[in-house]
């Protein structure tokens, strides 16, 4: 009881309450769409962060897991009429299965192998999906048949339900990361991320710990892919399986701050604001300029603040929390 009264508890809860009412305060659905996008990328960045941030194993192919979730789900929905609520799990599982061999192969090795193999995986999948047109419809992609307002089909005529689902997923990812930080696996991963040799010297099975983190990460990314397909109704190999998507997922975590639970959330908010403002600024008139700025931003972040924005934000947050009073006085022990 008393715990809720401390600033450490009530500030996050108040923030969550704010997020729940936020869409009702916005002038139109477009802003809700921006919030949904932010939440999806918060999920993706958090998922990437599990393996890329905590364990320091840099994936440049998370689009492979994202696209697998999206395609597996959409194929199951279209062909067999399975509810997307179920495919959220199935799509995640498919991505997880895809991650197993990659982990097996790469995590014995140290060096850039994982990063390169994941790029290869994403690109190879993109080409396979483009090639096997009979199943995947090639470059034209797949569409989710529109059913109107069908909650059981994970379709709604308003953006609000999507927002709440995406928000729930993002909150779940933050809680998962928070929880993992305190588990044995979390400590193993951080040790590996800091110095794999030292971690192994004290008896940590690094390949196994990394494979577990990757499996979790792939599952969450795949599930996010399923949600994305349902939300946008249309998926293309060149969007969901693209190298650009992989980089964007990683970038969210890097800009926010890798290896922290809230970093990817901050990163998702910052990046989406950035993307929207460049779109407003350039009006899509200059092809390439947006992504050029994007690449420049990545170089700048790595060059000048490689730990992301999280150190500043958490300092400011700590200062605010330190000044807030406890709402409920702790009962004095008798």
């Amino acid at each position: 009881m008393s715990a809720v009264g401390t600033p450490h508890r009530y500030v996050p809860l108040a923030f969550l309450a704010f997020l729940l009412v936020l869409p009702h305060l916005l002038p139109n659905a477009f802003y809700v769409h921006i919030l949904v996008t932010m939440a999806i990328f918060a999920v993706l960045g958090s998922a990437w962060n599990l393996i890329g941030g905590y364990a320091g194993q840099l994936s440049l192919g998370h689009a492979a897991f994202f696209g697998t979730g999206a395609y597996v789900s959409t194929l199951l929905v279209n062909r067999y009429g399975i509810s997307p609520w179920l495919t959220l799990g199935v799509g995640g599982l498919a991505a997880l299965l895809l991650s197993v061999p990659i982990g097996r192969i790469c995590f014995r090795l140290q060096g850039p192998y994982f990063a390169i193999a994941t790029i290869g995986l994403g690109e190879a999948l993109r080409m396979l999906v483009l090639h096997y047109r009979e199943i995947t419809n090639g470059a034209q992609g797949l569409t989710v048949p529109f059913k109107g307002n069908a909650p059981w089909q994970l379709q709604f005529d308003s953006k609000l339900p999507y927002y709440y689902i995406a928000l729930a997923m993002a909150v779940a990812m933050v809680l998962l990361a928070r929880w993992m930080e305190r588990t044995r696996l979390g400590h193993y991963l951080r040790a590996i991320g800091q110095d794999q040799g030292a971690a192994e010297a004290v008896g940590i099975d690094s390949a196994r710990a990394k494979a577990r983190a990757l499996a979790l990460s792939a599952f969450a990314t795949g599930a996010a892919g399923v949600f994305y397909a349902q939300y946008t109704y249309v998926i293309h190999p060149d969007s969901v399986f693209s190298l650009g998507m992989s980089v964007q997922i990683a970038l969210v975590a890097i800009v926010g701050g890798v290896g922290t639970a809230m970093g990817p959330v901050l990163g998702a908010i910052i990046m989406e604001v950035f993307v929207q403002s460049t779109q407003v600024a350039f009006q899509g008139e200059y092809p390439g300029l947006e992504l050029m700025v994007y690449g420049g931003l990545l170089v700048a972040v790595i060059r000048w603040c490689p730990r992301g924005v999280i150190p500043w934000v958490s300092r400011a947050y700590g200062a605010v929390i330190g000044r807030l009073p406890a709402l409920v006085r702790r009962p004095v022990p008798a």
Binding site: L58, I116, H131, P306
Partner: protein, 288 residues
């Protein structure tokens, strides 16, 4: 499937392998000396292609002659990249190093998109269609020139590294930076030289393929990816290994295209990567 078709695929693969080798040698040189995996290597190829294209379009310069411009140009690009982007993060974690080069790659790719648009462009030369024919095989001359050019440049680099003082100093830095410093070698200059050379080789590859390859902003991605596979298969840091591996990858890609279809060539390359990581992760040239 008759023997000639098969042989033709092998010939095409070998010719392509020269170019892959050139790009990969640049990549492996940068890694061997500076210890940075350059994810922008493919974009250096792209820059070389656009430079040659522009010189041909504006001045009517033959692509092979434009090598004299594109190589120094890319050398300067490489030196600047090392000085201003790589040097500050030399001791940073992998994350910083990898994403610095990824950022550079995105930047260059989209700069090309911005300045040249997404149009596919091509250089038209009088010898574009010329070919040697015999025994039912066709060897397109531009591809042959590119192959020969690539082998000559790789040979020159090997001589430079093996016989000249500067080349030896470069290898010394690659082996043991502190020791090299004790011997009076300035490692920072060697780093700039290595990245400069690595970029120049990629740029040369770009100029050499311009007579038979379309130029577009994302053309470098495939070359970058293949270079990675070549470098891993041929042992990170080894030039001879890169040559050998390029041959394997070039021929395998060509055969894969023949048997599986033109759009799956890269999937074959990925399979090679996976197999080499499983069977021999330290590459063909490792002594283990």
């Amino acid at each position: 499937m008759d023997l000639t078709t098969l042989l033709q695929a092998v010939v095409t693969g070998v010719l392509t392998a020269g170019i892959y080798a050139l790009v990969a040698i640049g990549l492996t040189l940068i890694f061997g000396v500076v210890r940075i995996v350059n994810f922008a290597q493919g974009e250096f190829v792209m820059l070389g292609m656009y430079a040659s294209y522009a010189l041909w379009k504006v001045l009517g310069l033959d692509p092979y002659l434009s090598l004299l411009v594109t190589m120094p140009l890319l050398f300067v690009v490489g030196v600047l990249v090392q000085r201003w982007l790589f040097q500050p993060i030399l001791h940073a974690p992998d994350l910083a190093q990898i994403f610095m080069t990824v950022g550079l790659s995105i930047l260059l790719m989209n700069a090309a998109l911005f300045f040249f648009t997404a149009d596919f462009r091509s250089v038209k030369t009088p010898y574009a269609e010329a070919a040697l024919r015999g025994w039912g095989l066709v060897v397109p001359l531009p591809r042959l020139y590119a192959f020969v050019g690539a082998i000559v440049l790789a040979g020159l680099l090997t001589v430079f590294l093996g016989k000249t003082d500067v080349g030896k100093a470069l290898r010394a830095v690659a082996q043991d930076r502190e020791m090299a410093m004790l011997l009076g070698i300035n490692p920072w200059r060697m780093y700039m030289l290595a990245v400069g050379l690595g970029a120049a080789l990629a740029g040369a590859a770009g100029s050499l393929i311009v007579p038979f390859f379309y130029v577009f902003p994302t053309v470098g991605v495939v070359f970058g990816l293949i270079a990675f596979v070549v470098v891993i298969l041929g042992t990170l840091g080894s030039i001879q290994g890169a040559l050998l591996a390029a041959l394997v990858v070039g021929v395998a890609e060509s055969l894969g295209t023949l048997f599986a279809g033109a759009d799956l060539g890269l999937v074959v390359v990925f399979v090679i990567l996976v197999v080499s990581l499983v069977v021999r992760p330290s590459g063909l040239m490792s002594r283990a």
